[in-house]
């Protein structure tokens, strides 16, 4: 085990200001990303993970299948990781801590779930409807970092011990496991602090030496005590990030500006923090990890929470201009200058951040689940497409998905054998299968809740739930205050367009019968006749095309899905099941599982992205038409059906353009949409990067809910992003970029 440090890389005479340090740190980050991309990349979030050879952990399984299950094995393995985990320390940085692995991913892929709790009957249905059931999926809910700020690791340990003494032996396994983990964390953090001390001695450059000394003192303190200063609070957050990522990859952040505001205001009042330092610290936080944070939005009384710190957070993200998952919560009282500044950042930096959520749509939706306005406002953006009340709910957000295109396919193949079949027969059949798929999904979630502790307890995130330590149980065993289980439908536009195409061409125009259409689909539109029919089907009314029959189908299908999901709440009292429409990065895999569909889609082609329409939805590609369609299919129970928008930077290259984009964002969210992800993509650059991704190692795109370095994506995924750009930019041609491309990031890299 050897530490990864960057000691004595600069002469003693070198001086550093914050901007220079950030430039160097950013360059290192870009280089590390390129290394990751060359090592194979991944179609997912950046996670701030470092590729390294210094530390390879060998899982110690407690099952013959090579996996680990239950408290003891997770505790032992996690503690072993911490005991061996080397320090990553960059003297340029304000903070230490980078993650090297996710323990949960060291398990054999096929054996994540404890085989003592099989679900073979459900698996048949999961396979039939191509359901991502979420059983054994972990985290995907939000910790309340305030608990850590208030107690520190030492306070959490004390609380665990106190509560253990007042609880019966049924809870001892929980307490003993958590106590062992927290003791290991504290030991680990003390060891890190000592190592930084040693590095401070070694470092020759006086400027960096001073930084390391301060860093060591900060780390020594936050190893067990609650943070006292702005810097300590962020260092605490950095460690929390690494500790939860290393355990099971948890990504949720929280309302960043409000969490840190007390420290900021207090340090400013004491004259120990300047805004320049605050920006530097925040930038280091964003460089460390692309965790999800929310900025702005209303407090419990509806007053805007935008503060000086919200501005500084934007400024920090702007300075490093890299993959960043910041969400601005838009409401009527949002500081207009802050909002405008964020839009300027979005268009100038073209890195897919920030994105925007609608307070009204989210709050009113969540209140339909029976929550108060106050509770609904606490539900902050914390993941790819999801919101969560920090420390209050267990959600399985973004882990459970039903491939609606496949459900349609099953129904179509059952109905289309009859010559006299009609669209209503297809609809009834679809509803039957939809209900079966949703019921199977609900049963899967209940199975997960029942046995997840025996598979993978939430040893880290448990500690940041309100009243969980007092209850002494894992979060899936009643440890959460609320259970709001997320079920997303994917492939909605494929289903909508397929119904609209069948209605028009089979039922109304009688161009073809259902059995003949089925034969064409089975043959994947082969032959001249198949080709003609495929084109005709594609000319049917499309979701996103405006106020047309497809929109009627959209609402019908949305209502059916929402109704089926909400019916689970009656079947399993005490638990909310909340519908949404999202695909995450499963568009390709879901598409491969579905043959040709009546919307003209060929067998195996990707399904539509998230809640977006299929490409070619409308000749003018009107953003408003697309967004109105997505607004119409919002389930309205507090989860999202996000809009994913690709825009050309040219549309906001002056003040008037920025004004129009501000208005566009407000209009999209006012019309009922919940969440807006925007990519500002220079068409020529993205095409050039698609051909040679390493030419633009710092090009970031918002793939779905998350931002990612374009070079990290697989060619298939890059193609998807390119296709989306082409959908709203139909004239996009192959690029004629000079070899020395002038489109690199605005921040020079040393």
């Amino acid at each position: 085990m050897s530490a990864i440090t960057f000691i004595n890389q600069y002469d003693a005479q070198e001086s550093f200001d914050y901007d220079r340090r950030l430039r160097l740190l950013r360059a290192r980050k870009v280089a590390q990303t390129e290394e990751k991309a060359r090592a194979g990349g991944a179609n997912e979030d950046d996670y701030g993970l470092i590729v390294q050879d210094a530390f390879i952990y060998q899982l110690a399984p407690n099952h013959p299948n090579g996996s680990i299950y239950g408290y003891q094995a997770w505790v032992e393995n996690y503690c072993s990781v911490l005991a061996q985990h080397p320090l990553y320390c960059d003297p340029l940085d304000a903070f230490v801590g980078k993650g090297f692995l996710f323990l949960e991913r060291l398990r054999p892929k096929a054996h994540k779930w404890n085989p003592d709790y099989p679900f073979d009957d459900l698996q048949v249905l999961f396979d039939r409807y191509n359901i991502i059931h979420g059983i054994d999926n972990c985290h995907h809910f939000t910790p309340d970092l305030q608990i850590g700020f208030d107690l520190g690791w030492g306070g959490i340990l004390d609380k665990l011990k106190r509560c253990r003494s007042s609880k019966g032996s049924a809870h001892h396994e929980f307490y003993d496991s958590e106590i062992t983990v927290v003791e290991a964390v504290i030991g680990f953090l003390h060891r890190m602090a000592s190592e930084i001390d040693r590095l401070a001695e070694e470092e020759q450059n006086p400027h960096l030496k001073a930084n390391l000394k301060e860093m060591a003192a900060v780390n020594r303190h936050v190893a067990s005590e609650p943070p006292r200063t702005f810097r300590e609070a962020i260092q605490w957050m950095c460690w929390f990030s690494i500790l939860s990522r290393t355990y099971n990859r948890g990504s949720a952040g929280g309302q960043l500006d409000e969490l840190l505001r007390p420290y900021y205001e207090q340090d400013k009042a004491h004259g120990v923090l300047t805004d320049e330092e605050a920006v530097f610290y925040l930038a280091c936080l964003f460089l460390q990890d692309s965790r999800y944070f929310q900025l702005g939005g209303p407090d419990a009384d509806g007053r805007d929470m935008t503060s000086a710190l919200s501005y500084l957070a934007l400024e920090a993200a702007d300075k490093i201009n890299i993959a960043c998952n910041l969400t601005i919560r838009v409401h009527d009282q949002l500081d207009p200058a802050f909002f405008r500044k964020s839009v300027v950042c979005l268009f100038r930096n073209r890195q897919g951040w920030p994105r925007y959520s609608s307070d009204t749509a989210l709050v009113e939706g969540f209140m339909n689940c029976g929550y108060t306005r106050d509770q609904a406002r606490k539900r902050v953006a914390a993941g790819c497409h999801w919101m969560c009340m920090p420390g209050l709910e267990y959600t399985m957000n973004d882990t459970v998905k039903i491939n609606l295109a496949r459900v349609f396919e099953v129904a179509f193949h059952e109905t289309a054998v009859r010559e006299d079949a009609r669209i209503e027969d297809l609809w009834q059949c679809f509803n039957r299968h939809l209900e079966q798929a949703v019921n199977a999904t609900g049963a899967g979630i209940m199975h997960h809740l029942k046995y997840q502790t025996r598979s993978q307890p939430e040893l880290i995130l448990n500690l940041f739930q309100q009243n969980l330590i007092e209850k002494g149980v894992n979060i899936t065993d009643g440890g959460a205050n609320f259970y709001n289980m997320c079920i997303d439908g994917s492939g909605l536009a494929v289903v909508i367009d397929s119904f609209a195409a069948c209605e028009q061409h089979v039922d109304q125009k009688k161009d073809i019968t259902y059995p003949a259409l089925k034969a064409l689909l089975d043959a994947d539109f082969a032959g001249a006749e198949g080709q003609v029919m495929q084109h005709l089907l594609m000319r049917s009314p499309r979701f996103g095309g405006g106020d047309n029959p497809a929109l009627t189908w959209a609402v019908r299908i949305k209502d059916a899905f929402t109704g089926a999901v909400r019916a689970l709440c009656r079947r399993y009292p005490g638990i909310q099941f909340i519908p949404g429409f999202f695909s995450w990065s499963n568009t390709i895999a879901f598409g491969k599982a579905v043959g040709a569909t009546p919307d003209g889609r060929k067998s195996g082609d990707p399904i539509n992205h998230g809640a977006n329409p299929n490409s070619g939805f409308r000749r003018d590609g009107a953003v408003s038409a697309m967004c109105n369609a997505i607004a119409a299919i919002q389930p309205n129970f507090g989860n999202t059906a996000p809009v994913q928008l690709e825009l050309d930077p040219g549309i906001a290259d002056d003040e008037e353009g920025i004004d129009k984009m501000c208005a566009m964002i407000r209009a999209i969210l006012k019309s009922g949409n919940t969440l807006l992800n925007v990519n500002i993509i220079d068409g020529a650059k993205i095409l050039a990067a698609h051909r040679d991704p390493f030419r633009f190692p710092d090009l970031v795109v918002r793939v779905t809910g998350f931002t990612a370095f374009f070079a990290m994506l697989s060619p298939e995924f890059r193609q998807l992003v390119v296709d989306r750009v082409k959908a709203v930019n139909p004239t996009l041609e192959q690029p004629a970029l000079p070899d020395e491309c002038t489109l690199s990031c605005p921040m020079p890299i040393e």
Binding site: Q531, V532, M533, H535, V623, A663, M664, A667, K670, T731
Partner: protein, 299 residues
């Protein structure tokens, strides 16, 4: 009330203030050789044909009552002299290789589309733009559309060439919030040669609108070799600067995208080799125009 509409384009960012829906009316009374919407010039529906999309299915051959389409082997050919623009072939063409430009629509049908973006207009200070072709060529329909928009509280802008009798112009313009009009050339002879219309009509209408206090934007499409001389721009800017209600003068760079549209109509296109003006030339012309003491924008 019916009108002939080429297209309704929602989420339009370049046809006036804010976010707009632009309704393109069909038919124009000028004949500018550079028009980048040639399908809007004829006052009747026009059949456009994009051969690269044709899959040779022959459905058009069966659909056309006038035998305008033929298949020569797998190659589809069209004899436009036989075409009566009935639209039957375009309705059955599976690939949109055949498209009709020009749909007869009622005011209600247009408003149904326009209404869908109300929140975008409200948030951005946008609204509806009536464009062309030439909006003045369908004055009754345009008037009915403007009244329908006003009744629903939508701001209306007109994009026009001002080539119509003053009474027609005044009647439509007085209900609009903004009139954007072109002055392509300031030399009377050149104007007549290139557009087929009298410059005097345009200038007199412009003065009349200014006297009526109607908000105006003056625009010049910069066509290489035709309108992009400094003297022309300076002359138009000087005229525009004297209009009391003018907001600004806008120079529109040449848009080469019209070429495929000319090909789709089997029309010759004299500017197929022309390219947009360089940034240097644009800024020079901007400076020239600004010298007249008017705000200038370049798009």
């Amino acid at each position: 009330m019916h009108g002939l509409v080429t297209e309704i384009q929602r989420f339009s960012l370049h046809d006036g203030p804010g976010i707009r829906t632009t309704v393109f009316l069909k038919g124009c009374n000028m004949q500018c050789g550079w028009c980048h919407n040639p399908e809007t010039i004829s006052a009747r529906p026009s059949l456009c044909y994009y051969p690269d999309r044709c899959i040779g299915c022959g459905r058009c051959v069966l659909a056309c009552p006038h035998q305008a389409h033929q298949m020569k082997g797998t190659l589809h050919v069209i004899d436009r002299s036989l075409c009566r623009a009935c639209g039957r072939c375009a309705a059955v063409c599976p690939t949109e290789a055949l498209l009709m430009a020009g749909t007869v629509m009622t005011v209600d049908e247009v408003m149904r589309e326009v209404r869908q973006d109300r929140v975008y207009y409200d948030e951005s200070g946008g609204g509806v733009t009536l464009s062309g072709g030439e909006v003045l060529c369908q004055p009754a329909f345009a008037r009915a559309l403007i009244e329908a928009c006003c009744a629903e509280g939508f701001a209306v802008a007109l994009e026009t060439n001002l080539n119509a009798p003053p009474a027609v112009v005044a009647d439509l313009a007085q209900k609009a919030d903004l009139v954007m009009f072109d002055i392509k050339l300031i030399d009377h002879g050149a104007h007549h040669k290139e557009t087929g219309a009298e410059l005097t009509t345009v200038l007199e209408n412009a003065r009349m609108l200014a006297d009526m206090g109607i908000s105006l934007i003056v625009r010049t499409p910069l066509i290489p070799g035709v309108t992009d001389q400094a003297e022309n721009v300076a002359g138009i800017a000087a005229f525009a600067a004297k209009l009391a209600s003018v907001r600004y003068y806008e120079l529109l760079n040449f848009n080469p995208l019209g070429a495929s549209k000319y090909a789709s109509l089997d029309l010759p296109y004299a500017f197929k080799d022309s390219r947009p003006l360089s940034p240097e030339k644009l800024s020079h012309l901007k400076a020239v125009a600004e010298a007249a003491g008017i705000t200038v924008k370049v798009n």
